[in-house]
């Protein structure tokens, strides 16, 4: 029963639109309780991949198991165990936030209390407001509430914090951390924001042209942990820098040379952003 050890498992996932291979053979394994981030530019195949896992799209090839079932054939019982936060907005403008969350709660066998979910996403003061009166960020938080109300074991978040202000984003990260840490919820996240992936994800995969080009923890993605560091210092009037895979030894040598404090010392490793931009082949 290797299947049971993975919340999500996909092998050789493929999907074409006409002549275009949107997904060209993707393998994914996400453990229960893990927060997994899928990074990639627009059109890389993120949404197609996630929507196949959510059961929205058919695949052309490959094996998929999500919570032990094939999403293509899964029924209500399976949908009750997942939560999907879509990037959308404008439905039911005349309902109130509390009515909408309460209504969705009624679809599930063991939902969270609507008021609790509304508090969790920070819409306490908007509970009795009509949805059409909410700001863009508040609507996104409502979307998140609707994805959470069924008490999912697996949560799909498609660019969840687009349109959030920095404070709301931090608050949202706390929500996700509390779900995955204490709640044991598995989270599959797609995002444009590298800081978001770094802050939330246990593992990150970078997708480009329908294939995964790198996978790892945010700390060691693309060999970042082992990548050469750049040591810089001020040598009289001249700024010097050196690339080295042994920065500690270089710093020790420099310390000996300067007899203690090294003038304006910096040690930098490639940031997640540097690695990411290199992986997706972006012009620097």
């Amino acid at each position: 029963m290797t299947e049971g050890n993975w919340a999500v498992r996909a092998g050789g996932l493929r999907k074409r639109y006409g002549d275009v291979a949107a997904v060209g053979g993707i393998d994914l394994e996400i453990a229960p309780g893990e927060v997994f981030a899928l990074l990639g530019p627009n059109g890389a195949g993120k949404t197609t991949t996630v929507e196949i896992l959510e059961g929205y799209r058919d695949r052309d090839g490959g094996e998929v198991s999500v919570l032990g079932e094939d999403p293509r054939r899964a029924g209500r019982g399976w949908r009750a165990r997942i939560g999907i936060v879509l990037q959308l907005a404008t439905d039911a403008p005349e309902l109130t936030v509390a009515e909408m969350v309460g209504h969705f709660a009624g679809f599930y066998p063991d939902p969270r209390r609507p008021a609790e979910v509304i508090d969790l996403v920070g819409l306490t003061d908007q509970g009795r407001s009509r949805i059409r009166t909410l700001s863009g960020g508040q609507v996104r938080r409502l979307d998140v509430a609707l994805g959470l109300v069924g008490r999912p074991e697996l949560l799909f978040l498609d660019e969840p914090t687009t349109g959030f202000d920095p404070a709301a984003r931090r608050a949202f990260w706390e929500v996700i951390r509390s779900l995955s840490g204490g709640g044991g919820v598995t989270v599959l996240l797609t995002t444009h924001y590298l800081d978001e992936a770094a802050a939330l994800a246990d593992r990150v995969a970078v997708i480009r042209d329908g294939v995964i080009v790198a996978e790892g923890t945010p700390g060691d993605l693309g060999g970042r942990a082992a990548a050469p560091a750049v040591v810089g210092w001020q040598d009289g009037d001249v700024r010097r820098s050196e690339r080295t895979s042994e920065p500690t030894r270089l710093v020790a040598d420099l310390a000996a040379r300067y007899g203690g404090e090294i003038p304006e010392l910096t040690v930098t490793r490639p940031s997640l952003e540097d690695v990411y931009l290199e992986l997706i082949g972006a012009e620097r």
């Binding site: 039911a92 309902l95 209504h103 063991d110």
Partner: protein
């Protein structure tokens, strides 16, 4: 036990929810409640759906008040019956066609599809909303007819039975046609009116809603008689202005044929819905 059977048994046990899923009926009633709230709070569409036929009734009844009719028949009475037929189709076909097209375009359907809401509950909610709106529409038009014209409510049980089956068959077949029509426009916002509303407006002119049926040229009446609206209006005239039978082209109410045509549309609409209904729009599959 084979390996595949073992895997299946294990996965079924894994999937069994801790508590049972809510019943289709419960979710369906909840959908109906939400549909009704959303419908009646949308002031613009409520005004359009209810006030428009009432205003048309007063206007048309006044403009054509001198029109020659049959013995004991006023033009206003004919308009009450015709507009009830048109109003039933407006609250079923047009309302569902447009609202579902928008729900698909705005990803409401997609979001619902991602939850354990049963598909049947979604349609149950629509049925509840349409039935309430259609009954309300009939009440409004009958009230206007009683206030401004000489409309008399039928007293025989037979007439009410006719009303009931014409109303229900009309609502059901036009609802299914509306659901099917919702898939036709590429974009609800850009061409929903042209694709869904325009054919309905044309039908209202040739089926005895805006123009008394006996004044419509024969060849247009023949076209109209293919579609359900003409038969719904005919049925409503037989209920609310039975004395006007002499004005009918066939000098009879043709109840048998009415039931037959509406039932045929019911079946056709059901087949269309089952084969064309999609939870996502074309660009999103």
């Amino acid at each position: 036990m084979t390996a595949s059977a073992g895997t299946r048994a294990a996965s079924v046990a894994l999937d069994a929810p801790r508590t049972p899923l809510p019943s289709v009926w419960r979710v369906g009633l909840s959908r109906g409640q939400v549909e009704l709230k959303a419908f009646f709070r949308e002031r613009q569409s409520v005004v359009f759906i209810f006030a428009m036929p009432a205003v048309m009734l007063v206007l048309l009844g006044t403009i054509f008040s001198g029109e020659r009719t049959g013995p004991g028949v006023t033009i206003g009475d004919l308009y009450v019956a015709g507009l009830i037929g048109g109003g039933v189709m407006a609250t079923s076909y047009q309302n569902l066609g447009m609202s579902i097209a928008f729900e698909r375009e705005r990803f409401t359907l997609k979001r619902l599809r991602g939850t354990p809401m049963p598909a049947a509950a979604y349609f149950a909610g629509k049925i509840i909303q349409v039935l309430v709106a259609a009954v309300a529409e009939v009440v409004v038009l009958v009230a206007v007819g009683l206030a401004f014209y000489h409309l008399r409510l039928p007293t025989s049980a037979m007439a009410w039975w006719t009303f009931t089956w014409v109303f229900l068959l009309g609502v059901a077949s036009c609802s299914l046609l509306g659901i099917a029509a919702s898939s036709v426009p590429r974009s609800a916002a850009r061409n929903g009116v042209a694709v869904i509303t325009l054919p309905f407006v044309v039908l209202q002119f040739i089926s005895g809603v805006y123009v008394p049926f006996y004044l419509v040229p024969t060849w247009l009446r023949d076209i109209a008689s293919v579609f359900p609206l003409e038969w719904m209006c005919l049925g409503m005239r037989s209920v609310f202005v039975p004395q006007a039978v002499t004005l009918e082209p066939g000098h009879s109410w043709q109840h048998g044929q009415t039931a037959l045509v509406l039932s045929a549309w019911l079946v056709a609409g059901l087949i269309l819905c089952l084969t064309t209904f999609r939870w996502q729009n074309r660009q999103d599959r």
